[in-house]
Symmetry: C2
Amino acid sequence: MMDLSERKKKILQLIVDEYIRTADPVGSRAISKKENLGLSSATIRNEMADLEEMGYLIQPHTSAGRIPSDEGYRFYVNSLMQYYQIGLEAIAQLQQIFATRVTQLDSMIRRAGAMVSALTDYTTLITTPARKHETIRKIDLVKIGYDKIMLLVVTHTAQSHIMTAKIDDSSCVRLAEILNKNLAGLKADEIDFSLIRNLQEQINEQISLPAKVLINILNFVYEAISEPADAEIYLDNANAILKYPEYADIDKAREMVSFLEDKENLKKLVESGDESGISAKIGKENNLEILKDCSIVTVNYSLDDRASGKLAVIGPKRMNYAKVFASLDRISSEIDKILKEYMSYE
Amino acid sequence: MMDLSERKKKILQLIVDEYIRTADPVGSRAISKKENLGLSSATIRNEMADLEEMGYLIQPHTSAGRIPSDEGYRFYVNSLMQYYQIGLEAIAQLQQIFATRVTQLDSMIRRAGAMVSALTDYTTLITTPARKHETIRKIDLVKIGYDKIMLLVVTHTAQSHIMTAKIDDSSCVRLAEILNKNLAGLKADEIDFSLIRNLQEQINEQISLPAKVLINILNFVYEAISEPADAEIYLDNANAILKYPEYADIDKAREMVSFLEDKENLKKLVESGDESGISAKIGKENNLEILKDCSIVTVNYSLDDRASGKLAVIGPKRMNYAKVFASLDRISSEIDKILKEYMSYE
DNA sequence: TATTAGCACTCATATTCCTTGAGTGCTAAC
DNA sequence: GTTAGCACTCAAGGAATATGAGTGCTAATA
């Protein structure tokens, strides 16, 4: 690898940076106008010609600017790239993604959505069931390391949580017993302050446990049975729209994709379906300019009043309605079966 | 809603079917040539003119064929659509989607992938960790309905399974005890035939349990600790490529998307990264024609020899390398933390 | 010797104009 | 009521042209 003068390095870096930003071939004038460089475009042109000869730059055609070659990128990545600092807001956002609780039932539901898009080859929308009145069936504590325990809360699904706490085996068993005796069978709104106080006293009598650990445990238990703030909504096979000639215009496709990326939009969409059976909204029936060439077919799934959600297919107005109706019919009854399995008792 | 003659209905149906199939405006000649209709294109033209007047068809412009209006689709959906039969192969395929085992750890990993694409706005690829030598920590049985029990198998994560079986509460407890005594601490390859026979005998002595239920239980336990056939691979934000001008050409975008849809391709891709640290493959370094304008940045995550996987970002060569490197660095160490939490004991 | 101003040259992109052909509506004959 | 025939329309595609960003080279300058 030939050595580059500092000036050449600087120029190469500016070109790569600029090209990364704009995706347009970078001209000599654009670089010469940059910051404190103090060089005319003619000089830059000479340097660029050198860099091209060395293989770091490419000219797509005579009268265009330059773009980096693979070797140019490689040099940039190895030697020129500036350190990037991830923003605080981004990190905060990340924490939230991880914090969201996903139960096994939810991921089942999500896969049902994937099935529909596999069957129909259209974009699918599915909401996780809004759960109500969940009861704690059983609580268990399993020691899984010298200072780690796994907390299991069985509701309609098994929810688990790993926490740091030094408890010996027998205390673990005792603690689980106390928790079960006091909490099993309860719903979220039946857990009140006096109950907690009582629980705390019983525990303190029998085992030594840091207050913080108990609070963590109770928090997770409470979370497991309380309704989620809002039902999750999942989108599957969003790029199916690329396959249909109505979106041969890239701008239309982009507009649609970014519409579908906004969960608020999706929630509104899915709520517009009728309450019973499979229903279709065709074109302008959707009352939305961007959807005037789309149809949305929606179906509700539910287990009496305890859980319900929606499943929808969105595609061009010219969709294969027969296939979509048949698929939704099939999968929604499949979901009903799953719900019954997971959530019905007595 | 005006009545339509049978002939008009038939013609409307043929037009909608044809348009759904081809997405091209349907001309009178195409219809007249259809099957047993036995009418000339001129006659069809007259009928089409009527259907247009009634609002069921639209002419995009004078010299084009007709396409259905929203009302035309509506009529089709309500009255003309033929019943569609889902193919057997499709259904078989579906069963498989549901059969795949997804643990809580897997969905954590998947969300880590989502984070990277949120941070960078490029397409992200993530493989779930290949697990080895898992041991059963605890088995539990919870009665959740009059003929339903939930089987819990705690490994590095809690896996649950709901099955139909009529067992009374005390038998449930007894059964769990026996299972734990015989199976806790074992790895997949330590479960052999004599062990199972022994277990079966103990159970038959103490409780009455249909052989089929026991087999179901053992099957699920075994599944929970055996290695998955192949690591799952998830793709996130695949339509990010639409946002970049290098894919302004819709055909290029389509080609890329369908490349990314094939999991076999993805597996090969992700395996090409270096073993340690973050590494980038730029353009032709990927040795694949379709990727000659793409870069792939890969990082490994791992917890000693027990679990490891890959995380990769794929985007245009002109990607923001600094940001991608920083994001991957950050998230992979986040994953390492999770793995440690979930999988390390002692 | 390094830098710069000036100018002729190149070539992708956008624009305009023209051709082509699929499909129509209408009329007259069957 | 149905059909053959024909003039008419208009989107899509191709050829020809204009535009302008950016270059390389030369000669002047510091």
